[in-house]
């Protein structure tokens, strides 16, 4: 068995690697800039980020070299171990008011980072031989269970943003494996009901659309009635549950779901972020010159709101470049996934891309005030060792799959 067995070095996706390398360089600069403020205490952390980057690049190389069929072979043990870690982190001590971190050899890391990859492999292994086009609703239950376990465990850490990333990879991967789009929408319909019911007309409209869709798709009565009943029950119970709660209980639930919100006014962070982005203008205020950042008006400006720091200093031009880099990275990834002859590898690539894309959209959307504040880091830019290392490892895997794209 050869360790290196690819068709030719031309299959190595230099464009993907280059876009990621540019992104990490921007990331180091942004972290450095974000910590040059009138608030002391963070000056040196860009060096720590540099150390994490070195480890991450080593992880990237390792992920390129090892054939992915080992990941397929060990998918279940890896999944099992990471679920145990997720459960263990809940029993461990709290750090910054949540159960997200585990201390390992003096270093804090988040097991949810590993769980994302483990779940991708396990789900890919479970479904890659199946034709999900014929799976129906019962056939999707087992794949769903694989994802619901980590989703639930991460939700109660609590970490809503990361927990929903499991939902994102699930939808992307079953879509890739041929699960009908209409069924995906039906699977999501109870969640939509729960949200829509906070405005009665929109929920009634939603239910009418649902009924029309049954007729349009010629749904079997058996399934249609189940979906309808489920949506009706959830739609009618949710308001009662919510109304039955006291003000302070609702606040508690909202803070539980989303510890990032400031009970004294969630709008403040977003406003400061919008001011930072907007004041960047077209050309930006220049590297190290951002005033919002310098005066520490931005919350979490080296982690969750790094995009605001970046766009204040580099302006629209910088944002355009950044978004193009992210676009190119995922575009190259999609090309790799499309060309991969091995279904497992293709699915794993799609899972990785969905996680990266989800983080990019949610984080930037939050900084721009179009999505709620959930405390999700921006890949390759936000300060944070374990996220950077895992993200680079995922890029390594993508490159690996690209190298072996003609293998079955």
């Amino acid at each position: 068995m050869k360790l290196f067995e690819f068709h030719s070095n031309r299959d190595f996706d230099m464009q993907l690697l280059a876009s990621v390398l540019i992104l990490v360089c921007i990331g180091i600069l942004a972290v450095y800039s974000a910590t040059q403020t009138d608030q002391p205490g963070f000056e040196g952390i860009w060096r720590k980020q540099l150390v994490s980057l070195a480890i991450g690049l080593a992880a990237l190389v390792a992920a390129v070299v090892v054939p992915y069929r080992y990941l397929e072979a060990f998918a279940w043990p890896i999944y099992g171990i990471s679920m145990v870690l997720l459960a263990a982190v809940l029993l461990g001590p709290k750090h910054m008011n949540t159960h997200r971190w585990i201390r390992l050899g003096g270093q804090m890391f988040q097991p949810s980072e590993i769980a994302k990859m483990a779940t991708i492999f396990a789900l890919a292994k479970l479904i890659y031989r199946k034709d999900l086009g014929q799976a129906g609703f019962l056939g999707i239950l087992l794949p769903l269970a694989i994802v619901v376990v980590p989703l639930g465990l991460v939700l109660i850490e609590p970490d809503l943003g990361t927990s929903l990333s499991f939902g994102a990879l699930f939808i992307a991967m079953i879509f890739w494996q041929g699960y009908p789009v209409k069924n995906i929408l039906y699977l999501l319909s109870p969640v939509l009901s729960m949200v829509a019911v906070f405005s009665m007309p929109s929920w009634i409209g939603f239910m009418i659309l649902l009924l029309l869709s049954f007729w349009f798709f010629r749904m079997k009565f058996k399934y249609a009635s189940w979906i309808f009943v489920l949506n009706t029950v959830i739609g009618s119970i949710t308001p009662f549950l919510w109304q039955g709660l006291k003000d302070y209980q609702r606040m508690r639930i909202m803070i539980f779901l989303n510890p990032g919100i400031d009970p004294r006014g969630a709008g403040w962070h977003v406003l400061q972020s919008k001011i930072a982005v907007g004041s960047g203008g077209f050309w930006g205020q220049g590297f190290l010159e951002g005033t919002q950042k310098k005066l520490s008006f931005l919350p979490e400006q080296h982690t969750d709101f790094i995009f605001a720091t970046f766009s204040e200093e580099f302006g629209f031009i910088g944002c355009l470049l950044l978004l193009l880099l992210f676009f190119w990275m995922v575009y190259r990834g999609i090309v790799i996934a499309r060309q991969a002859r091995n279904r497992f590898a293709g699915l794993a690539a799609v899972g990785i891309l969905s996680i990266l894309g989800y983080h990019v959209i949610l984080n930037i959307g939050m900084a721009l005030g179009v999505l709620p504040v959930t405390g999700i880091p921006l890949p390759f830019l936000s300060y944070g060792g374990s996220a950077l290392i895992i993200n680079l490892m995922m890029i390594g895997l993508l490159l690996n799959i690209g190298l072996r794209r003609y293998e079955y």
Binding site: G265, F282, V330
Partner: protein, 603 residues
């Protein structure tokens, strides 16, 4: 290849989705940076947006008859909003108010270290005339504004001060500990009593608003696209305290008398009155206590801040004899008729020590009933010797002496029930004399209880052996008056047999109502009060005077413990006070008709 074709169409769909999502982000970026860039640049250049906290009103505390006993009043503060160039305005303000401008500046610098960008209060709790002066000169004070906050006010001064507790500003240590929970420097924190116990509920949560200021820090108005977050006032507590009974109980401690009185409804565990004397005025703390006032309170030898009802322990004295009796009855050592081997001749020799009875002439030969009624020490010395330390301590621990009652107040102490191992640890194995159980049997020596414990225990005896956990909060309502929580009654059996309880209750009624009983001064016409006097020996001074009682004997609605420090015999001092409390409460409840009693009206 069909597979490839499918892959291609899915890849195209994924790509379109990705492009669409990024386009939305890019358009939004362009909107902020290009279309609205000038506006945001302006905001950023002048740091024009300020977040101003709107403090929540602290919840109110009511007595069970809906009298407000702790309220919140708005107070005015002078607040600095400007981040820079505030020197001249602050100097002007200091001159107008007659303050030293240097110390005001120091205070600002100190607070700005914690909140570099936030408004800081530079003068707090302004007098009305100061408010008027500030408003008059508002145009000379750019960057300064008047803000209100809520401060505790005790409408009846020191009334119920120990159970309510007090609030005062966070000190820097408390701030470090609590800042993650949303506390800020200058916030008030409950630091004793119910204010501390229910701090998280009473405090409510602050709101905030966003104001735009000009370059000089003058306010230009609210930011339209930012919602004002309304503060949520704290909850209102309705206590089990009976306003009139509490007032009467406090008025009983006259002329510097020190001690405690506790009244409980034994059917529920509701505390009707809880007094510790001397007391203090909580407003001293909520208005920012001066160093002189603080040192006066803290160094007062009568400890006015100390809640004697739950935090002081005393030997129970003869009030403990009911527990010795219960232990002896339930272990079968005696029955109600049995006479003990030695008649009372005024003293009893155990080993080489002589233990005296309080009545030097002696009581003669007695059964249990008469021994309790006349509080004969010699009778109980003999029971103590028969039971031994273990027999007494076992019963004490079983009924719950030696542990907290679980009342919803902070810092309750458990008292002390000495056991054999306790003595061995303290005095060494085998080296403590045979007289120890004799001493314990009459409630002297190392045994220690709180006034609350005795009130609760006697209530449970009156209640047929069912002990209800004492509590102070009847119900909790939110600021709109919506019920959030009601009291939950918790109870357990004392573990004394019904037979023993019946015998003890008869004897306690005899103490008050029989000729020759020691508690005659608590007698009430037309109702059977059952109780016990006690005199706690005090090595540091005069003995403490106890009286513990419940009434009516058969179905008690109130049980009372009164302790007066250094007042001598229980029968002389504590018993009449307890009698007054019971008399008024029974009249209030319509259980007795008492034409001679003048009961003050509920305000």
């Amino acid at each position: 290849m069909a597979q490839d074709y499918k892959n291609s169409s899915r890849a195209a769909a994924a790509l379109i989705f990705w492009i669409a999502a990024l386009s939305v982000l890019l358009i939004r970026t362009a909107q902020l940076q290009i279309v609205e860039g000038a506006k945001y640049k302006n905001y950023a250049r002048q740091n024009r947006v300020r977040k101003v906290a709107i403090p929540a009103a602290r919840g109110l505390i009511f007595s069970r008859d809906s009298v407000i006993i702790a309220e919140s009043k708005p107070a005015f503060n002078l607040v600095l909003v400007a981040v820079r160039d505030w020197g001249p305005a602050v100097i002007t303000a200091a001159r107008i108010l007659g303050l030293d401008s240097n110390s005001v500046k120091q205070e600002i610098t100190f607070q700005r270290r914690a909140y570099p960008k936030d408004p800081v209060s530079i003068v707090r709790n302004l007098a009305p005339e100061q408010v008027a002066v500030i408003e008059e000169h508002a145009d000379k004070l750019p960057g300064l504004r008047l803000a209100t906050e809520s401060r505790r006010k005790a409408p009846f001064g020191s009334y119920a001060s120990h159970l309510i507790g007090y609030t005062s500003e966070l000190n820097s240590r408390e701030y470090e500990r609590l800042k993650d929970q949303g506390y800020r420097l200058g916030d008030f924190l409950g630091k004793g009593g119910l204010e501390k116990q229910y701090e998280n509920l009473l405090r409510g949560s602050d709101g905030c608003e966003f104001v735009e200021v000009d370059a000089k820090g003058r306010e230009q108005g609210n930011i339209p696209d930012l919602e004002r977050l309304e503060p949520v006032p704290g909850v209102n507590l309705y206590l089990t305290i009976d306003w009139r009974l509490q007032q009467l109980a406090e008025s009983l401690f006259v002329d510097g008398m020190q001690g405690s009185a506790v009244a409980v409804d034994p059917r529920t565990g509701q505390i009707l009155a809880l007094v510790s004397s001397p007391n203090f005025n909580p407003d001293l703390f909520s208005t920012g206590i001066s160093p002189e006032n603080w040192s006066r309170l803290a160094s007062d030898p009568s400890f006015p801040l100390w809640d004697r009802a739950i935090r002081s322990v005393y030997p129970p004295g003869s009030t403990f004899k009911v527990f010795t009796a219960a232990a002896a009855l339930d272990s079968g050592l005696i029955d109600e008729k049995k006479l003990l081997p030695k008649a009372c001749r005024g003293s009893l020799r155990i080993g080489n020590r002589v233990f005296k009875c309080w009545k030097a002439g002696g009581h003669g030969s007695l059964n249990l009933h008469e021994a309790i009624v006349q509080s004969c020490d010699v009778y109980f010395y003999q029971l103590g010797q028969m039971l031994g330390v273990q027999g007494i301590s076992d019963l004490c621990l079983k009924v719950g002496l030696g542990s907290e009652t679980g009342i919803d107040l902070p810092q309750e102490v458990p008292g002390l029930v000495p056991t054999i191992s306790w003595y061995e640890k303290r005095l060494g194995r085998g080296s403590w004399g045979g007289g120890v159980p004799a001493n314990l049997s009459i409630g002297q020596g190392e045994l220690l209880v709180t006034p609350l414990q005795l009130a609760v225990m006697y209530g449970a005896i009156g209640n047929g052996g069912m002990l209800f956990q004492p509590h102070l909060v009847l119900k909790i309502e939110d600021y709109k008056g919506e019920l959030l929580e009601k009291e939950k009654l918790k109870s357990h059996q004392l573990g004394i047999s019904p037979n023993a309880i019946a015998i003890i209750k008869e004897a306690l009624a005899g103490v008050v109502n029989q000729p020759g009983g020691t508690g005659g001064s608590a007698r009430i016409y037309g109702i059977e009060v059952a109780g016990k006097t006690g005199t706690a020996q005090n090595p540091h001074g005069d003995d403490h005077s106890w009286f513990v009682a419940f009434a009516p004997k058969d179905d008690p609605v109130i049980s009372v413990a009164v302790l007066v420090e250094n007042a001598g015999h229980g029968s002389a001092v504590a018993a009449p006070l307890a009698g007054k409390l019971i008399r008024q409460y029974l009249a209030q409840q319509g259980i007795t008709k008492d034409d001679n009693l003048k009961v003050t009206a509920v305000p």
